[in-house]
Symmetry: C2
């Protein structure tokens, strides 16, 4: 790399070379005002020669001081779920020439406001956030200043904002009903951590579907870890070690799904299993899951942002993305005592 560093060309430089004023160059480049064909040619040639590239910073400053980047704030960047959501956001934004800024809070609720603050100082156009702190009211002022805030996966706390969530209850309900249809009555539920909105919703779905089938004594089969990081493997082991163990297990989130399956893999007699969130190999391994489209989740979030930028008024919208059960075998394993069981005497 050379030590020399030629200066970046500006509108004025191009104007000088082309022998016109800066404004004329601006017009020629943007095609806004009217410029003669000869002049336009000359300007374009000069611009190309100088490798001129309009400074978006200056342009944005001139135009109200906002960038055209949308920030996506997540807790844990290594969770594949977020990655797919990010993909959806990026693609949707790209159709409008906008870009995505990715930031993480490392799952620390306390750092959410700090990270968001830094992003706002950068004048992001909008904020898409997976809420992790218990309170998003700190964003109220910013919202009033016209920065759209869209929550993904879970709604905000103490803040009026658009959001995109999954049909959590319906998804788990479908899973429970499916297991009941195969003959299961003792169904476990493993999920972590307990305090998240999504997990609460899924727990409610689990309970309501059981109740619907007249099963009222399943509390002992619920295992929601109180803290992040507690392993779902342990929960599964606990459940199977009960005197009257469940014959089927449902996992309430993607990390719990993989952990639970790890524990159930190679165990016999087979325990029926349904996970939440599809993943690579789930098809090859024959694992039934409650699936949804994370990319679409991101796209919807981005669409909400675009809609809000277009028209800031109107009530907040909450979009519910459908979930659906994919039957691949693991969820269709009958209970050992079923009449059609192969282990029957």
């Amino acid at each position: 790399m050379t030590a020399e560093q030629q200066a970046r060309a500006t509108l004025a430089d191009v104007a000088r070379l082309a022998g016109v004023s800066a404004k004329t160059v601006s017009r020629a480049m943007s095609g806004d005002g009217s410029v003669s064909e000869v002049t336009r040619e000359r300007v374009m040639t000069a611009a190309k020669r100088l490798r001129f590239r309009p400074n978006t910073l200056a342009r944005n400053l001139r135009h109200g001081g906002v960038t055209n980047s949308v920030a996506f704030v997540i807790g844990d960047i290594t969770n594949p779920f977020y990655f797919n959501v990010a993909a959806g956001i990026e693609r949707e934004l790209a159709t409008k020439g906008m870009t995505m800024l990715l930031a993480t809070t490392d799952d620390a609720p306390g750092s959410e406001a700090v990270v968001v603050d830094a992003l706002l100082a950068q004048r992001v156009r909008a904020l898409i956030i997976v809420p992790i702190a218990k309170d998003q009211s700190y964003l109220e002022g910013e919202r009033q200043l016209g920065t759209p805030v869209v929550c993904v996966d879970r709604p905000a706390h103490h803040l009026v904002a658009d959001s995109v969530v999954l049909q959590n209850r319906l998804g788990i309900e479908e899973a429970v009903r499916s297991l009941i249809a195969v003959g299961h009555r003792k169904i476990g539920f493993v999920c972590s951590p307990a305090e998240l909105y999504t997990h609460q919703e899924r727990l409610l779905g689990y309970r309501s579907a059981l109740l619907e089938a007249g099963i009222t004594d399943s509390r002992r089969y619920e295992r929601l870890e109180p803290v992040l990081g507690a392993t779902a493997e342990e929960s599964v082991r606990e459940l199977l070690a009960l005197d009257d163990p469940p014959t089927a297990i449902i996992a309430g989130n993607n990390r719990a799904s993989t952990a639970a399956w790890r524990e159930l893999f190679n165990r016999s007699p087979r325990v029926a299993f349904i996970g939440f969130d599809d993943f690579e190999f789930a098809d090859t391994l024959g694992i039934s899951v409650v699936a949804y489209d994370p990319i679409e989740l991101g796209r919807e979030a981005a669409r909400l942002v675009l809609a809000r930028l277009d028209d800031p008024s109107g009530p907040p919208r909450q979009i519910e993305l459908p979930t659906h059960l994919i039957r691949r075998g693991s969820g269709e394993v009958p209970p050992p005592d079923a009449p059609d069981s192969t282990i029957a005497p």
Copy 2:
């Protein structure tokens, strides 16, 4: 959302409220010049009252017109490999208060320059790119203007730039040697597509390790798809349908790994298998792989950017990240004709 939209407070607004000049506010906020304690208090109070947030756009414009975002340009955002690299970049940049802009080219070589151009117009501070086009010489001008360019996973074509790549040859060589040690002589290599630098390197590693063991007739076991999208499943089927099929197969990239394993899963007699790039479940399923740390790959790339920003001079650096074989069983399956084979008569 209210239709009203109060204006965003500026330095001047804060100054007016605090009864000082704009410059004093600037000093008080940045802690740069000297400001008396009383004044600082008054300014801070005024700033808080007005919810003042310094406009990074303006600040950056004042300082040479560059943002503090680094763009990461990838081909296919749904490839988990890139996601982990992105995670590494984001984390490393965050330590320096910089942010990551994510952009994709949808694996279309032609759109690389277009996407990059848009990013440069946004005055990104640096560029981290997974080269996909055949020629990155279009970045030469920008590099001379002081924008660091770092290539990830593969080096740039026709451009002097720092890069971070994997020890591709060594990784595959280790895999081949390991298979040979177990007794294999007929080893297949599946990878796609053929034209990528990484895949070429891995192919060379495959060949050299075989040669080292005196195996010279393995060309018929090489299956590199000429085009993106061709399935590795087919390649595996082709290999196993040969009159003299290989007893072991190595996959040269992550997509090929999963595809190949899908095909080999449940097939008997078992074919030894070693994949490239670790993935979830590989441990549970007992799949041996040539692994590396994608997050570290991203971190290194970000470090190169930071180093280059710090000191633009000096020769380009190419960092090689280590790869290592993780033995989990699938790569330790002996050939059917081995003396210690369980199928021996």
